[in-house]
Amino acid sequence: MTTQAPVAPAPPVSGTTAKTRRVSAPRRRWGLTAIGIVVAFFFLVPYVVMLLGSFKTKKEILSIEPTYLPTQWQPQNYVTMWDTPETPLPFNLISTVAISAAATVLVLLVAIPAAYYTSRRRFPGRLAFLFLVLITQMLQPTVLAVGLVRQFLAIGIHDTWLAMILVNAAFNLSFAVWILHSFFATIPVALEEAAMLDGLSHFQVLRKITLPLVWPGIVTATIFTVVACWNEFAASLVILTTDANQPLSVALTKFVGQYATSWHYVFGISVVSIVPVAILFALIERRLVGGLTAGSVK
């Protein structure tokens, strides 16, 4: 004991060096920022090309001497694209919003209870159930869409928002259940049991303890569903035949012609379509990876 005594102060010293390292970190961390900027640039290149292209004239964008920046900025592309003979773009935007929002709400209403149940109850055939859920995701949308058209015609909702809300919800449910299942599974049952011993009802435990802890999972599932619905293409192409009902993803293709593609409109609509989703992401990105479990799970 006594011989070890002189060594004893060592841990606090190493502890303080760890702290000072953290304090002096910003100098080194700017190097990480530089790497990050290169990474970010790499991921942004196509969208920068898209944005710049949307400001070019039709003639310039099809020139065999491609330009980086528009020689003649053409912001009126963003005005004229809403009123073209190809597609009623304002209605396409409304359709995209309505279908995505309704489908996402539907997915969450079904997926949260389903995932909670599969992660908490050891019912017979649980693995088989999860596997079956996954199978629904493996079906190819292209081939599936043809069969869906027949069914929707039979029940009279072909070419309606409702049809695409159901299709989008169905396509995304399995992912939502799976991702939420894996998040629920990381919350110890002991935590819930302790809360129940403290007098909370099962529902209160779910609402006050468990759901806040799986919040990152719910956000992931929500974002994934919104984006998938927003960008859905194959089924919408087959099921929505009325121009005004079609989402932006389908409307976009109206400008891609066999001989003359209106790239400036294709890129303009792409930008308009990407911006809302990017803003949505920006609003909830912080919560996406929030370390909410750090405090409560010990």
Partner: protein, 243 residues
């Protein structure tokens, strides 16, 4: 009755090439995506100035539809009007513009790169969310015990990430296998089926060759194939194993 359709699918001379393409496509895109995403997630989990902006930048490819992103890549690599092609000539990587999307092998490689590009953001964010659920206490305890960084990653972080990684890999396998827009836009106009996967071949049979019965047969085969891949993956990694 319909068995003849399956026989016709399997007797097609181009099928072995298509099956090889499919294996390369799925294994290559998913493997590179997951490895890159694990590195990127680890990087974005660090604290540095401007991290939030960089994370947001990486979200953009996920926010954009695959159709839109692939269309831009196709446009950028176009030999005549493509800006990326021009750039590669200007920095002397190429002597003259190259028809990346005009030959089966290079077009397929470009398609795979785009496949990785559009898959990385989602995978990275899923892994980041998984990293966020690892309690700081465990990592701090490891630091106190003097574990080096590599050991900390392989022995503490990776086991905690197992469930998250399993979900990310499975979803990627399914999405990449079923992915149509990338191949349709980049290799879709090439003659023949040299740069096709079973999925894009299904679409060609349906629309280009007007063989809906054959397309249905191939899509059932596809479904069986992806089922087998997932079953093998599940058996090996047991993502739902209870600890």
């Amino acid at each position: 009755m319909g068995l003849a359709n399956y026989r016709r699918v399997f007797e097609n001379d181009g099928l072995p090439q298509v099956l090889i393409n499919t294996a390369v496509w799925v294994a290559g895109v998913v493997f590179v995506t997951v490895v890159l995403s694990m590195a990127l997630a680890q990087f974005l989990n660090k604290d540095f100035p401007g991290r939030r902006a960089i994370r947001l930048a990486i979200l953009i490819p996920w926010a954009a539809s695959v159709v839109m992103t692939t269309t831009v890549f196709y446009y950028m690599l176009e030999p005549n009007v493509g800006i990326l092609n021009k750039f590669l000539v200007q920095i002397n990587v190429l002597d003259e513009t190259f028809g990346f999307t005009k030959r089966p092998v290079s077009a397929f490689a470009v398609a795979m790169a785009v496949g990785v590009f559009v898959s990385v953001p989602f995978t990275t964010y899923t892994i980041l969310a998984g990293l966020g659920t690892i309690p700081d206490e465990i990592l701090e305890a490891a630091d106190v015990d003097g574990v080096n960084r590599w050991q900390r990653y392989t022995r503490i972080v990776l086991p905690q990430l197992r469930g998250t990684l399993a979900v990310a890999v499975i979803i990627n396998i399914i999405n990449v296998f079923n992915s149509l827009p990338i191949l349709r836009i980049i290799t879709g106009d090439l003659p023949g089926i040299k740069a096709d996967t079973t999925t894009s071949l299904t679409f060609k049979l349906l629309t280009l060759y007007r063989e809906p019965a054959l397309a249905q047969a191939l899509s059932v085969f596809n479904f069986g194939l992806v089922l087998v891949i997932i079953a093998i993956y599940m058996a090996v990694t047991r993502p739902m194993r209870e600890d």
